[in-house]
C-alpha cells in the first residue's frame, strides 16, 4: 500500500501498534518529511491512548473461597479423585495443603483409601474341566457324531426287542407243534376256536377250555401239562401249554399294538404285566429301555436323558465292534446328575453337569 494523504492515519496507527517493519517505518518518516503539516498529528497521536484506571478495584473478597467453605460433597469428590489418581500434580499439591488445614480432607481421604475392595481367595472349582487336551477339539466332533449314531442304533435296537419280543421257551409254535404228528396237529388246529376275534377293535374273552392258552404274565408263566394229548414219551417232549386266563387286560393303545402283532399260538403279552399296565407310552418306553437295554435293576419311568441314550449307544457299539468305551456318570446325594466321564483307548474327558440344565 502506498502511503498518501488519504491513508496516512493507518500508517500512523500501525506505527504505534508496532505493526510496521523498518522499511515501512522509513517510508512513513519520508512521507512526514514531505508533509510537515502532518508532523504534529503524528507526534500527538500517543496522547489519545487511554490508560486503565488503576484506582478502580472490585471488592472480590465475597467471591474468594477458603478450604473451610468447601461443601462436604466437594471434599468427598476431591478425596475420591485423589484416591483414584485422577488429579494432576498441581491439584495433588493443593489437596495436600488442604489436607493439612482441613480435617475433613484428612478423614475423607482416609475413608476412601479404605473403601477399596480386596479380592479374596475365591477359586473357580471347575478349572480342571475347562482345560483342553491339544487335538481334542477335532476328535470331539467325530466322537459326538459317533455317539449320536450309536444312540440311534441303540434306540432302534431297543424298540425292536421291545416290540418283537420272542415268546418264552416252550410256547414257540415251531418247537411245540413239531412234537405232534402232522395229522394230529392239523386236527388240533382245525378244532381250535379263534384265540381272539381280530375283526373287533378290542380283544375279547378267550373261550374257556381252548387247548392253547394264554399266559397271564410272560415273566411268570404257569406251566401245566395237557394229559389229553397223546405223547410219544420215547422221542417226544411233552407238549406244554400255558395256563388259561379269563381276560386280557389292555388299554386302547396297548390293544392296538397287540392287534398288530398277535398271531395264533404266539401271543406276546409284554404289555400285560402288572408293572407296566398303568404306564403311558413314554413311561413304558423309558421303563423298558432302562430295564432291557441299560439293564437297570430298578428302572424308573421318568423321561430318558440324553446321556442314558448315549450310554446305550456306547454299549451297543462296544458289543458290535468289540471296542472298550465307557460312559460313567456321577450323581449327587439326591440322585441328580453331577458329572459325566467318558473313557476309551483314544480319548478321555469329563463333563460337569450344569446346575440349570441337569438333563444335559
Amino acid at each position: 500500500m502506498i502511503i498518501n494523504r488519504q491513508n496516512y492515519q493507518i500508517w500512523i496507527t500501525d506505527y504505534y501498534d508496532g505493526q510496521l517493519d523498518d522499511f515501512q517505518t522509513e517510508v512513513l518518516m519520508d512521507f512526514l518529511s514531505d508533509n510537515p503539516d502532518l508532523r504534529s498529528e503524528f507526534e500527538d497521536y500517543p496522547d489519545f491512548f487511554i490508560s486503565p484506571d488503576e484506582k478502580a478495584q472490585f471488592d472480590n473478597s465475597e467471591l474468594l473461597r477458603t478450604p473451610e467453605q468447601l461443601t462436604n460433597d466437594q471434599v468427598e469428590h476431591f478425596s475420591i479423585a485423589l484416591c483414584e489418581n485422577d488429579l494432576s500434580e498441581k491439584q495433588k499439591q493443593d489437596i495436600a495443603e488442604l489436607k493439612k488445614s482441613d480435617p475433613r480432607f484428612r478423614k475423607s481421604i482416609r475413608v476412601y483409601e479404605k473403601i477399596r475392595l480386596k479380592p479374596d481367595d475365591t477359586e473357580y472349582p471347575d478349572k480342571a474341566l475347562l482345560l483342553k487336551i491339544p487335538g481334542r477339539r477335532k476328535t470331539m466332533g467325530i466322537l459326538f457324531t459317533s455317539l449320536s449314531m450309536a444312540a440311534s442304533i441303540a434306540i432302534i435296537t431297543g424298540l425292536f426287542f421291545i416290540f418283537n419280543r420272542q415268546s418264552p421257551p416252550g410256547i414257540d409254535d415251531g418247537s411245540a407243534i413239531a412234537t405232534i404228528s402232522e395229522s394230529e396237529a392239523e386236527q388240533e388246529i382245525q378244532e381250535r376256536p379263534p384265540l381272539l376275534d381280530l375283526t373287533d377293535e378290542m380283544p375279547r374273552y378267550i373261550p374257556a377250555k381252548t387247548e392253547v392258552l394264554v399266559a397271564e404274565s410272560v415273566s411268570t408263566p404257569e406251566i401245566i401239562e395237557d394229559e389229553s394229548i397223546i405223547l410219544d414219551k420215547e422221542f417226544r417232549e411233552p407238549i406244554i401249554h400255558l395256563a388259561m386266563c379269563e381276560e386280557i387286560k389292555l388299554d386302547d393303545r396297548q390293544a392296538h399294538y397287540l392287534l398288530a402283532e398277535i398271531k395264533p399260538y404266539n401271543v406276546p403279552l409284554l404289555f400285560a404285566t402288572d408293572d407296566t399296565s398303568d404306564m403311558s407310552v413314554r413311561e413304558f418306553l423309558a421303563y423298558q429301555f432302562r430295564k432291557k437295554i441299560l439293564e437297570e435293576e430298578d428302572p424308573g419311568i421318568e423321561q430318558l436323558k440324553a446321556w442314558e441314550i448315549a450310554d446305550a449307544g456306547i454299549k451297543g457299539v462296544n458289543s458290535l465292534l468289540g471296542w472298550n468305551m465307557e460312559l460313567q456318570t456321577g450323581k449327587t446325594e439326591d440322585g441328580k446328575l453331577k458329572d459325566i466321564s467318558f473313557t476309551s483307548e483314544l480319548i478321555k474327558f469329563d463333563h460337569k453337569s450344569r446346575k440349570n440344565n441337569p438333563g444335559l
Partner: protein
C-alpha cells in the same frame, strides 16, 4: 491362540473371572455356568482371539453373560438400601462389610467397582468391557464409592 495358551488362560484368569461373576451375581451355580460358558466360547473362537486380549475378552463375555442372566431374572436392587443390620455389626472386617454392601449396588456400579478394585483396570479398559463410555465409567465409580461410603455409615467408625 494355541490350545496351550488357552489352557494358560484357564489357569490364570478363571479364578478372576469366577470371582468377578460370583461377587456380581451372588449365586455359585449360576456363576460357574457363566464362567463355563465364557471358556466354551473362548475355545470355539480360540483361533481368532489373541492371547494378549483373552483376559479382556473373557471379562467382556462374562459381563455380558451375567447381564443376560440377571435380565432374565429381572433382578433389580435399590441403590441406596443398605444391608440389614449393617450398622449394628462391629467393623471387625471392613472388607467383608464392603462386600455385603457391594451386593446392594446396582449392576453397573458393582461391575465397574469390581473391575477397578479387583483387576485395577483403567477407565478406558472398564469402558471397553462394560460397553460404557470412559466418562460414564468414571461417574459410576464415583457414585459407587459414595454409595458404599453412605451405606457403611459413620465415617468416624472407619477412621
Amino acid at each position: 491362540m494355541t490350545p496351550q495358551q488357552y489352557n494358560k488362560a484357564v489357569e490364570e484368569y478363571s479364578d478372576r473371572i469366577y470371582r468377578f461373576v460370583l461377587k456380581s451375581m451372588g449365586d455359585q451355580d449360576k456363576s460357574r455356568d457363566v464362567v463355563q460358558d465364557c471358556y466354551e466360547k473362548l475355545w470355539i473362537n480360540v483361533e481368532e482371539i489373541e492371547y494378549g486380549k483373552a483376559k479382556a475378552w473373557l471379562f467382556t463375555t462374562a459381563n455380558n453373560g451375567m447381564i443376560d442372566v440377571l435380565r432374565k431374572e429381572k433382578k433389580f436392587v435399590a441403590v441406596d438400601s443398605p444391608p440389614e443390620d449393617i450398622h449394628d455389626k462391629a467393623y471387625s472386617d471392613l472388607n467383608e462389610i464392603l462386600h455385603q454392601c457391594l451386593s446392594k449396588l446396582n449392576d453397573s456400579w458393582r461391575s465397574v467397582i469390581l473391575l477397578r478394585d479387583y483387576e485395577g483396570y483403567s477407565y478406558r479398559e472398564i469402558g471397553e468391557i462394560t460397553g460404557q463410555s470412559e466418562a460414564q465409567v468414571k461417574i459410576n465409580i464415583y457414585r459407587a464409592r459414595m454409595a458404599l461410603r453412605k451405606m457403611i455409615g459413620k465415617m468416624e467408625v472407619l477412621v
